[in-house]
Symmetry: C2
């Protein structure tokens, strides 16, 4: 990184904000949409809950920083992630000027059933409708993240990131109902989603349920890519 020296030559005279990342991770519980929070060990806001995050290193882009922090703090990796928004209010951190690039992630909660927490830190999944008061401006970050999820889930097939690889149409519909906050008509839903031709029915069926076993489906990513390229628009 020759930049280190050049930085001094060109710009050392200007103070710079600190740069951090914060991650809003959504997971799908049995009865609610959830987000992962970490309890802060130190001041400011010691004891309060906050989204996992941390400082951006000089040799990594912000998304890499977000994935690294998430892995360090929770052990979660390889999830769907996209940039959410950059929060830069001058007083958002009481210590000093900190600008934070927030990320928005979706995980298959079944893969992380046990409450995460690698350091001494406590991490816990909270239903989105029952969040404790959050540190810093994380309440605002959460609002933006939830709005993004609700807005996006209808027009891009990101909802599948919350489900296991193999899922039933019932699970899929419940996922949409939980996120959108309203009920969907079962027959119309199935007609629409199957009509897209993006769900591969598997030769397997659900097991161990005390009712008729449902067909398992898989989302056909390759087919979606192809259709998307030729102008197809996903919509629920």
């Amino acid at each position: 990184m020759p930049g280190q020296y050049l930085a001094a030559m060109y710009t050392y005279q200007y103070p710079r904000p600190a740069l951090t990342v914060d991650c809003v991770i959504f997971g799908l519980g049995d009865e609610s949409l959830k987000v992962l929070l970490i309890q802060r060990a130190h001041d400011p806001f010691a004891g309060r809950w906050a989204f996992p995050g941390g400082f951006v290193d000089m040799d990594e882009p912000t998304e890499t920083a977000a994935r690294r922090e998430l892995w360090e703090e929770t052990g979660i990796e390889d999830m769907f992630m996209e940039q959410l928004y950059t929060f830069s209010a001058v007083d958002r951190d009481p210590r000093e000027r900190v600008v934070s690039v927030a990320y928005f992630a979706l995980v298959k909660l079944a893969n992380y059933k046990v409450t995460p927490g690698s350091d001494a830190q406590r991490a816990e999944w909270f239903p989105v409708s029952q969040l404790p008061p959050l540190a810093f401006d994380h309440d605002e970050i959460f609002k933006v993240a939830l709005a993004r999820l609700k807005g996006k889930v209808r027009y891009q097939p990101i909802g599948f990131e919350l489900l296991p690889e193999k899922f039933t149409l019932g699970q899929l519909q419940r996922m949409y109902e939980l996120i959108l906050g309203r009920e969907l008509d079962k027959r119309n839903f199935r007609k629409k989603i199957l009509g897209m031709g993006l769900l591969l029915p598997l030769p397997e069926r659900q097991k161990g349920v005390s009712h008729r076993a449902a067909t398992l489906y898989q989302f056909d990513r390759a087919k979606y890519k192809a259709l998307e390229a030729s102008g197809f628009m996903f919509e629920i």
Copy 2:
């Protein structure tokens, strides 16, 4: 700003990326959608065109920085602006690590007909289909900005920000056609947009045109706010 002292106490040991803003400003010409570029006076990329932008001060949020830089470099103010994306590739600036928060702005070009340029800098409006090679990663920033504009203009009434306060339905339709890159049916377009009840017909008509004078309309922002709050979705 007590943060200045605290910053030294807590975090002076970590190097920080520089933080800048860049603004992609769209305006509507007679025959094309345009963006404002500034020709760089100094290295790196001396002589190349780039989006206006600059460093974020310690006492201003990024959007304020974007508006300030834009005013300083072009004299444009009070335009529609929203955050676009934060670009953080490690080598995006050859001198040192610079993270840039890009903004996306829409202006009523008629108000800025003369080529702007307040400093010694040259500023010019370029049709989006004929951009010169840009400095830094600004080609990528532009791609993201144009995609955002195309995607958003259909679902939010931001297109009006590109037109004068009073406009004809012909101007409105041409605006959508230029941005979306396809022709719209005149009768269907009028039926749809007038059907929303968001356009106030004015008792005035177009003047000095060598054809039948069109009715002038105004976008009813108050009514849109009300409808939006009760679940109405704008769509072209």
